[in-house]
Amino acid sequence: MTETKLDLLQGTLDLLVLQTLASMGSLHGYGLARRIEQVSGNEVLLNQGTIYASLVRLQQRGWISAAWGTSDNNRRAKYYSLTRAGRKQLAVETANWQRLSTVIGRVLSASDGVVK
């Protein structure tokens, strides 16, 4: 399993970030990256640098907010947390994702025999 890691689909990183922030409260970039990797059971291939592009994008859309804070071992770090709009967006995107995965699952199982 660890040999081939999953490539993240376009846009899914944003969803993961939103969900992680929703469950963890506020986190800094490194924490977010680690958390996503842990929760996914190290199955997601995450180029940690991409987290920051995602964060600035979500921030510009007004779904998360950022503030400088101090980490456990006294480092200055930027902490991100979900806004009210972000919470709403998370609900929308989660619903979308579930619909999409259901549909894709259905299509794949229907054409199962044909492919083989």
């Binding site: 970039g29 680690r34 940690q48 920051y52 859309r61 480092r75 770090a77």
Partner: protein
């Protein structure tokens, strides 16, 4: 949705706080790395490995920053700004290349913008009247008679007054119609007497044009009434120069030709109708005798088309009316009528010159583009490594193309600015080619149209010469370019072929331009060398126009002329002096019908043969000008007032009507339209031919009257030009000649004092200007082409340095190396010359009307141009050839 709009605004705003955002991000990433390192150490890695793994997981600090910037900003705009910034840096770095490119661009865009500004001012700018398209001129059309002898044979001539009356009464196509003719007026009273050009016109002229006065009023129909007081409308310029802009002038009287005229109004300075010389307008008040004239084709007829009538409809109606007139009047036989637009009439004769200038300057543009494409291609090849490195570092192919195009664009903008600056410098000079009849605004100047034109040309050039290198870059083979190791790696032979092709094209176009310039130059030299039939050196011309009110009788004028001539001849430095109504080249008209005694009245279709130019002269005229006598005698005291009417003709006229006979003693007369002939005039002498009308046209049949024997009492037949042959510089005598005239009559204006040399210069101005412009364009082309050839050869030598080094190490002689490079240069040049000669052979016939006794395929010009080009090509090839010969085998091989 609102999230996305908000994102767009944020992205835009981020462009302005990128410093803050970048420093925040750096800090954030630093923290990230430190945290990761700590975690890794805790997991048991040594510090070095811990940092390495942290960086791998992050994917690199700089790459993360790049992702962040793309996500937060507007990547397109930012990279554009970056491209420009980078372009400036690159161009500053290679200053020589940049300067050469910008200079080439500025020169070619400058030349094109200059010529375009001229074309725009003359052909594209509408006349300053309301609905100028509806203003038309009406003409008598002589094409069925085989033309009318004006300067050369023309198909149409101004109308007669009888025609004007008929046209006005019978036509339905025109809202209104006016007739006018040019006249000279002497203004006396305040200050020195002054000769002015004025227009004698029907009072509705201003209404037809739709012209509003600046002060007072223009002319009204009641001004033409039998007992109306004489009025005049003057131009703003005259109002300022002569009357100091006095606002109280309107309503006051001024003296014109000795008669009091009330100033009715002042029209703005840019009202220049029918040409720049006209400064005043008086009501014509044509007499019934004048209105009956059927053969005096000197009246311009201006009309305004009715709104729903087309030019074609008006023409058709005029042809119908002309047919009626042909049936009714014998003198109208063979004469139709035609209509032209005013703007078309004022500009049609400069269109050919404008087209060939545009064509020539377009060739310069093509040559410059080829040259620039070559420069950029060569430069691009030597930048292959740089481009390959950038591509390897992750720059996309599109991004590289954009970068190269941005460089071209920056160069072009500098070029365009330089070009417009250069063009502005030439405006005054180019103003020489603006036709006299156009209004003041029609001189070349910088306007929106010219600027837009320059921008368009620039944009086309960017695409033209920027696209080649960009495409070459897109095809860049990364591996090969990097492996080649040095920037003189192997060149694609395709690129070399393109470069050679461009140089050949440059040479081809240059040859065409050089041939054209050469033909014009030879024509100019031939016109200068042509014998005008008189001696133009050391001749002074002064104008003294006599007002009819004061000098109405032949006796009074005769006395004036004789007294002036006596005084002028007594001046030291004067060897001869005479009077004439128009000296050579001063007036391109003045012709009369004649009939020969004892021969039948000429039929209308033959009338061209019975027209000769007429000049009225004092007895000393021919000897003063140096015109030899062929038969009989010159005029003398025997030809005074009341003596038998005498006439002198030129050889051309004698050969035409009395071939092989002696015309002296024969008589002819002049049909006036009212009677069949004036009294008979007896030929007393035959003089040599003179080029009266144009230096570049053979002499016409000419006849000369004695100044004391008026054929018709028209003021334009009165001698008004004093011709003085001097021993030294003619202009040095201006003041004493003027004083001599004022000794005789202090109210007499003495104007337009010029030397015949100046008149020659004015006469040759257009020819001179065209030749100079073509010469300049051809010289520019030659420089560009030789730079192009030099560039390609230098590049080849640079590319092949190591190969040459190897060969020289193996014993090749310097001479052979030089010969090889020269051979290549000459091969390209010869190919270009051959193609160019072919092109010139096909194209120079377009120049035929501008040439003078030179064939468009003049072999000498073609040969001279080929020689010149090969010479220049050899010179341009020599420097790279020597550089090749000086390649040091040792260092060339070491650098490999």
């Amino acid at each position: 949705m609102s999230g996305h709009i908000r994102e767009l605004c944020e992205r835009f705003l981020s462009l302005f706080r990128h410093h803050k955002l970048d420093s925040d991000l750096s800090e954030e990433l630093a923290t990230h790395v430190e945290m990761a390192v700590e975690d890794n150490i805790r997991a048991g890695m040594n510090p070095e490995e811990a940092r390495r793994q942290a960086m791998i997981r992050l994917g690199g600090v700089e790459a993360s920053k790049e992702l962040h910037r793309d996500a937060r900003g507007l990547p397109l705009i930012e990279s554009f700004a970056q491209d420009i910034h980078y372009a400036f840096r690159t161009l500053r770095h290679s200053f020589g290349f940049t300067m050469v490119t910008v200079v080439i661009l500025a020169l070619s865009i400058g030349a094109n913008s200059a010529i375009f500004s001229l074309v725009s001012a003359v052909l594209l700018r509408p006349l300053p009247f309301p609905e100028p398209d509806r203003l038309v001129l009406l003409w008598d059309d002589f094409s069925a008679r085989g033309g009318f002898v004006a300067p050369g044979v023309v198909e149409r001539a101004e109308g007669t007054l009888a025609d004007y009356v008929a046209w006005k009464e019978r036509s339905r196509s025109f809202a209104d119609m006016a007739a006018f003719t040019t006249n000279t007026y002497t203004l006396t009273g305040s200050g020195e007497p002054e000769k002015l050009e004025g227009i004698r016109t029907t009072a509705n002229l201003f209404e037809v044009l739709g012209m509003q006065p600046l002060l007072g009023r223009t002319l009204v129909p009641s001004d033409e009434g039998p007992d109306a007081i004489p009025v005049v409308v003057i131009n703003e310029r005259l109002w300022h120069t002569r009357f100091g802009g006095d606002p109280g002038l309107v309503g006051r009287t001024i003296r014109l030709n000795g008669l009091a005229h009330t100033v009715a109004g002042v029209v703005p300075a840019d009202f220049q109708f029918p040409n720049k010389n006209a400064v005043l307008w008086v009501p014509a008040r044509f007499t019934s005798e004048e209105l009956a004239q059927r053969t005096n084709y000197i009246f311009d007829v201006l009309a305004r088309l009715k709104p729903d009538i087309t030019l074609g409809q008006a023409r058709a109606e005029m042809v119908t009316i002309a047919r009626q007139l042909q049936r009714e009047y014998p003198s109208n036989q063979g004469i139709s009528a035609t209509v032209t637009q005013l703007h078309e009439h004022l500009t049609h004769y400069v269109k050919p010159a404008m087209s060939i200038l545009l064509g020539a300057v377009g060739l310069v543009l093509l040559i410059a583009s080829a040259n620039l494409a070559n420069l950029l291609l060569a430069r691009c090849s030597s930048r292959r490594k740089e481009l390959a490195v950038r591509q390897a570092l992750g720059a996309g192919r599109g991004r590289l193309i954009r970068q190269l195009l941005t460089e071209s664009a920056v160069l072009s903008i500098f070029g365009a600015i330089g070009g417009l600056a250069l063009a502005s410098v030439t405006f005054r000079y180019l103003g020489r080619l603006v036709p006299n009849g156009l209004p003041q605004g029609a001189s070349p100047h910088l306007d929106v149209r010219v600027i837009l034109f320059s921008i368009t040309v620039t944009a086309l050039m960017v695409l033209g010469f920027g696209a080649g290198p960009a495409l070459a870059a897109a095809r860049l083979d990364l591996d090969a370019a990097l492996k080649a190791g040095t920037n003189r790696g192997t060149t694609a032979s395709g690129g070399q072929r393109v470069r050679n092709g461009l140089v050949v094209a440059e040479v081809t176009l240059t040859v065409v331009l050089l041939v054209a310039a050469g033909l014009l130059l030879r024509s100019y030299a031939k016109v200068l060398a042509a014998d005008p039939g008189f001696n133009p050196r050391q001749l002074l011309i002064a104008e003294t126009v006599l007002p009819p009110s004061k000098y109405g009788t032949a006796e009074s004028r005769s006395t004036f002329y004789r007294r002036v001539l006596d005084r002028v001849l007594a001046l030291p430095g004067v060897s001869a002096a005479a009077y004439v109504n128009y000296p050579p080249l001063m007036f391109k008209g003045g012709r009369m019908f004649f009939r020969i005694e004892g021969r039948p009245m000429p039929r209308p279709e033959d009338s061209n043969r019975y027209i000769a130019s007429d000049r009225v002269v004092s007895p000393g005229y021919f000897s003063a000008l140096g015109v030899p006598l062929r038969r009989g005698r010159y005029f003398d005291e025997r030809d005074g007032v009341g003596a038998p009417s005498a006439i002198i003709i030129n050889e051309k006229m004698a050969a035409m009507h009395w071939p092989g006979e002696d015309p002296v003693g024969r008589r002819f007369g002049f049909p006036t339209g009212v009677s069949d002939s004036t009294p008979w005039f007896t030929i007393v002498g035959v003089v040599a031919d003179m080029r009266q009308m144009d230096l570049d046209r053979p002499a016409e049949p000419e006849m000369y009257f004695s100044m004391d024997q008026v054929v018709l009492n028209f003021p334009f037949l009165w001698p008004q030009h004093l011709v003085v042959r001097t021993k030294g510089d003619p202009l040095a005598l201006s003041a004493s000649v003027r004083r001599a005239v004022w000794d005789v009559d202090p109210d007499e204006p003495v104007s337009s004092i010029r030397s015949m040399d100046q008149i020659f210069d004015a006469e040759l101005l257009n020819r001179n200007t065209q030749m100079t412009l073509f010469g300049a364009f051809a010289a520019l082309a030659l420089v560009l082409a030789s730079v192009g050839l030099y560039g390609v050869l230098s590049y080849t030598v640079a590319q092949r340095t190591s190969e040459i080094g190897v060969r020289m190490a193996l014993g090749a002689q310097r001479v052979n190396v030089v010969g090889e490079v020269l051979r290549k240069g000459l091969l390209l040049a010869v190919l270009g010359v051959l193609l160019g000669l072919g092109g010139a052979f096909a194209l120079t016939r377009l120049l035929t009307s501008f040439l003078f006794s030179v064939q468009p395929t003049d072999p000498e010009t073609f040969a001279a141009v080929s020689g010149l080009l090969l010479l220049v090509a050899t010179a341009a090839s020599f420097v790279p050839a020597l550089r090749a010969a000086n390649v040091d085998p040792v260092s060339a091989l070491r650098s490999e």
